[in-house]
Structure formats: structure tokens, C-alpha cells
Amino acid sequence: MMRYTLHPLGEDAVLVELGKEISKETHRKVQSLTAFLEKHPPEWMIEYIPAYTTVTIFYNPFEAYQLSNGQLPFDFVCSLITPLIEELTENDMQEPQIVEIPVCYGGEFGPDLDFVAEHNGITPEEVIEVHSSGSYLVYMIGFAPGFPFIGGMSEQIAAPRRDTPRLKIPERTVGIAGMQTGIYPIETPGGWQLIGRTPVKLFRPMDESPTLLKAGDHIKFKPISLEEYHHWEETEQ
């Protein structure tokens, strides 16, 4: 059985905490709860937000109150969530999807590739080699539409954030901050070290599933040439 605690987040949400640390084990619990909510959405639920160690479930408090016979909405919703969580098993998890993301490293797209190499005492080619040979897990999506919080990057290519964030980072840029790597789905300001860009759109607002990645996916980065990049970008549009 899963250990968990329930906490209010305002009058219309309950935060389910499934662990205290970022780990694959906690991530699996988060995944099995969200897979369950996806497959059997309770009628009182509006939506949910999964994160590293939590799943926050939103509801309409007045509707909950009217269903509850006078109980306070939070207590009522907790009484409905408890049996759901207690019956969860990891069998509820979906098969992880493996997503290959082509990246054109360095040059104009990756102005900080040399810095990352120098910082770690290796060559830019080695940074590319290390970055693209790893297997990465998407722990959660947040910060911006489709922005993946990714775990699994090698220490060999870790690099600190820039002292002064850039005001504009073009969409689809791949970066490194500390022990993390990530991809900016839309143009935003940010302090990451930029090492390359992917021609693949991560945010597709008109699609039914509007983001390329979702929590639980595994990522592999594949180095491509500038020519391949442009070819890919053309066929994407």
C-alpha cells in the first residue's frame, strides 16, 4: 500500500503527497495515481497537476458541498480520494513512451556549448557525446507549456546557471542548468547554458495532446547536422 498525506491547496484543490524526495520510486507512485485519474476520472474532479512527489487534484468546492450532505468540501473530497489511493497498484501505470529528440548541437543554436566543455575540462564533442548517450526520465511538466523537468543527466556535463539570465531564449533550445538538462518549448527568459536546438515542436496548442512530452516519458537525444535540422524543421511545418 502507498503511503501518502493529503493537504489543502486553497478551497478547490487537494495536494496528495506521495514522497518527500525526488526518486524513481516516488515518481512511479505519482505515475500510477495519474494513470488511474486519466483512465477513471472521478466526476467531481476538474483536473490534476502531477509533480515530482505530489499530485494536486482540483475540484469545484460548491458542487462537492452539494454532493456531500453538509460536509466541508475538503473533507468530502479526501474521503473519496482515500479509497482510490489505497487500491492503487503499480499495474495501473502506463507503458513508458520513449521519445527520440533530434538536436543540432553548438553553433548559433548552442552558444554555451564551449563554456560547458571548458567548465568540465572536456571537448565540445565530448559534451555532445555524453549528452546524447544518456537516457533521461521526464519527472514532470511545468514552468511553461510542455517544459519537461528531466532527470538522469551525467555529472560530467553539469554547469552552473548564467549569472545574468538571457531575456529571450528561442523556443526549442536545449540547455543545461546544474545537474539538469531541459528544452524550452516557447520563447522565455532564462538562465540556462544553451547547447543546441531541436527542430521538433514541444508545444502544439492545436493538437488534442498539446505537448510532445508528458511525465513518465523517457527521452533520448540524437545529434543531427545543421542540414538535417533545416530539413526536419521544414517538414514539421
Partner: protein, 336 residues
């Protein structure tokens, strides 16, 4: 159809928010003052979630290309039609060719203009709200500009009944207000420098004893770096009792988070879906309108209530709204 002569400072189409997509990192958006948004729709005979125009500080100048039933709720931005002041929190029938403009910000800073049938904009990801930063939803994904033309949808039966009643009274005037509106006891008192009720945030206990006291003792100023995403407040610096890294988790409308510089940020309609700063408090849902109507330079003070009280206040307000809706329905069914 409504013609935008001048757009105002920031006028955007909003409904009650984009739900179902926060798990993809897509922000909720929606009205900053959802209560006024809902009231404006009810008075125009619309569904509560219909898209309305959110008007900020300096309002737009609009001309009506046809007779239109409207209502303006929220902050008092001195609306006038053809130079004559028009009342807020009421249904108003406006004659074709009339010009609506706004003036001084007398109370609050955001007004909600609903038109019968709602504004016709395409639905994007389950909502008609404008997501300004991503350029999505609402009217062409952006705030209004001069020359824009706003179409309205098909009016409901309720809208038609209110229109019919007001048509009988308009005679040769350019607009007519209904003889009833939202009772003043239901309208949030959006005085400057409001007192906002909050509950303890999930990381409240991690803050130093001094910070916990100061949160409720001192006023916090709404700084000019405040927008639809959040209000950055300035006051006594708040600090954790010892440094602790937070793990990113969901945030909500009204969550008060404290970054390392100690100046709290209250997250609002355009907040990110998740955040990694510790949350010291959570604004009670019933006081979100007071917050949304506060403007840069105003100061906020916080008082603590329990989670139970916050829920009870919300239930009480929703009960009153339910009565109000029934009242409006009965009034309009009988001809008015």
C-alpha cells in the same frame, strides 16, 4: 458587433480559465476577478463561463454597431455612454451607434464588460481565455487593438427577455439601465488597502517566527512589477528559519510564495502551473476579488483564518449566488 476605437491599457477576452491542460504546463489564465466576471455574465443573461472583456486601469473606447445588452461589473472605471455616466452591476441596453468609454479609476482597477451571447472567439484547449504570453486563445491570442471588431454570440432566452423588457423603456435614449441590479451587500468592498484573509500555506511552518508574525502585522505594498501572473509585494523581508530546498509542486490562484529575496509574490490568473518557492499562505477564494482589484501602490494586510472558515465563507457566498441566480431567473421569466 462592437468596434474598438481605442484599446485601453490592457483589454483582453477572458472566461473562467483553461481547465484540463495544467498537467501539460499550460497555464489557467481566465478572469483575474472571477466573481465580477460571473456577475457581469448573469446580468447579460449569459452562462457564467461565457467570455467577457477584462478591462485594466485605463479602459477602451468602443462603439456598438447594433443594439446590445451589456453589463459592467468589478472596479469602477467611470464608464460612460455618449458622455453620460452608466451604472455598474446592472443590465444595460445600449442603442446602436452609441459610444462607451471609461475614465478615471475610482475604485478597484479591473472592470468586466459582458455582452449578451458572449464574445465570439474560437475555443482553444477548452477555453476562450487569452493566454497572452503564448499568443493563444481569446481575440487572436492578444490584447485588443484599435480597429478590432468584436462579434457577439447568439443571445440566450434570458438575454432576449431582459432585452425585450428594456426595449420598452429605452424610448429615444441612447441607453437604459435596468431598474434592479446586484444587491450592494453581495458586491465585494474593493476599497484601496484591503484586508485579505488567508490560510496558512503548506510551508508556513518552515518560516522563521519573526516572519510568521510580520506576515500578519505589517502591510505589504503592491509594487509596479505586478501583472496578471502575480503581484510582487514589498514589506518586511520574510525568511525561512533555515535554508531548505523545495521540490516543485502545484500552485493555485492566490498562493503566496516567497523567493529567496524575501519579498512575497501572490500568484494570480496567469500563474505558472507549478512552483518551487515555499508557500507561506493562500488567499481565501472569497477575497480573491479584493486582491484582483488592488493596484500598484495599494497596500495589503493579511489576517489569518482556518481552512474550515475559508470553506464556510465560500459556501455561504455560493449559496447567496444560487439565490441570486434563481431571483434573476424568476424576474426575467415574468417579463422582467
Amino acid at each position: 458587433m462592437i468596434n474598438v476605437l481605442k484599446p485601453g491599457l490592457l483589454s483582453s477576452i477572458q472566461d473562467l480559465g483553461r481547465t484540463g491542460y495544467q498537467k501539460y504546463g499550460v497555464i489557467s489564465s481566465g478572469a483575474m476577478d472571477p466573481f465580477s466576471h460571473r456577475m457581469a455574465n448573469l446580468l447579460a443573461g449569459n452562462k457564467e463561463n461565457d467570455p467577457v472583456l477584462e478591462i485594466t486601469m485605463m479602459g477602451p473606447m468602443l462603439t456598438f454597431k447594433e443594439d446590445t445588452l451589456i453589463s459592467i461589473c468589478g472596479g469602477d472605471l467611470s464608464p460612460s455612454i455618449n458622455g453620460q455616466p452608466v451604472r455598474t452591476w446592472r443590465s444595460v441596453l445600449v442603442k446602436k451607434g452609441s459610444e462607451l468609454k471609461f475614465g478615471q479609476c475610482r475604485k478597484g482597477c479591473r472592470a468586466y464588460l459582458a455582452a449578451a451571447g458572449g464574445f465570439s472567439v474560437p475555443e482553444v484547449m477548452n477555453s476562450k481565455s487569452t493566454y497572452l504570453r503564448a499568443g493563444l486563445g481569446g481575440y487572436k491570442g492578444r490584447a485588443l487593438k484599435s480597429g478590432d471588431l468584436l462579434e457577439t454570440g447568439k443571445p440566450s432566452l434570458q438575454s432576449l427577455k431582459i432585452t425585450e423588457y428594456l426595449t420598452k423603456q429605452i424610448l429615444d435614449r441612447t441607453f437604459v439601465e435596468n431598474d434592479w441590479g446586484i444587491a450592494s451587500e453581495l458586491i465585494p468592498d474593493t476599497a484601496a488597502n484591503p484586508e485579505i484573509r488567508i490560510t496558512r500555506g503548506r510551508q508556513f511552518d518552515l518560516f522563521s517566527e519573526a516572519s510568521k508574525v510580520q506576515l500578519f502585522k505589517h502591510a505589504f505594498e503592491v509594487t509596479s512589477q505586478s501583472d496578471r501572473m502575480g503581484y510582487r509585494l514589498k514589506g518586511p523581508a520574510l525568511a525561512l528559519s533555515e535554508h531548505a530546498e523545495q521540490i516543485s509542486e502545484a500552485v493555485n490562484f492566490g498562493s503566496i510564495q516567497v523567493p529567496p529575496d524575501g519579498n512575497p509574490i501572490v500568484l494570480l490568473a496567469d500563474r505558472q502551473t507549478t512552483g518551487g518557492y515555499p508557500k507561506i499562505g493562500q488567499v481565501a477564494a472569497v477575497d480573491l476579488p479584493l486582491l484582483a482589484q488592488a493596484k500598484p501602490g495599494d497596500s495589503l494586510s493579511f489576517s489569518e483564518i482556518s481552512n474550515e472558515q475559508a470553506q464556510q465563507l465560500l459556501i455561504k457566498r455560493e449559496m447567496k449566488l444560487k439565490e441570486l441566480k434563481q431571483g434573476i431567473f424568476l424576474k426575467t421569466r415574468g417579463g422582467n
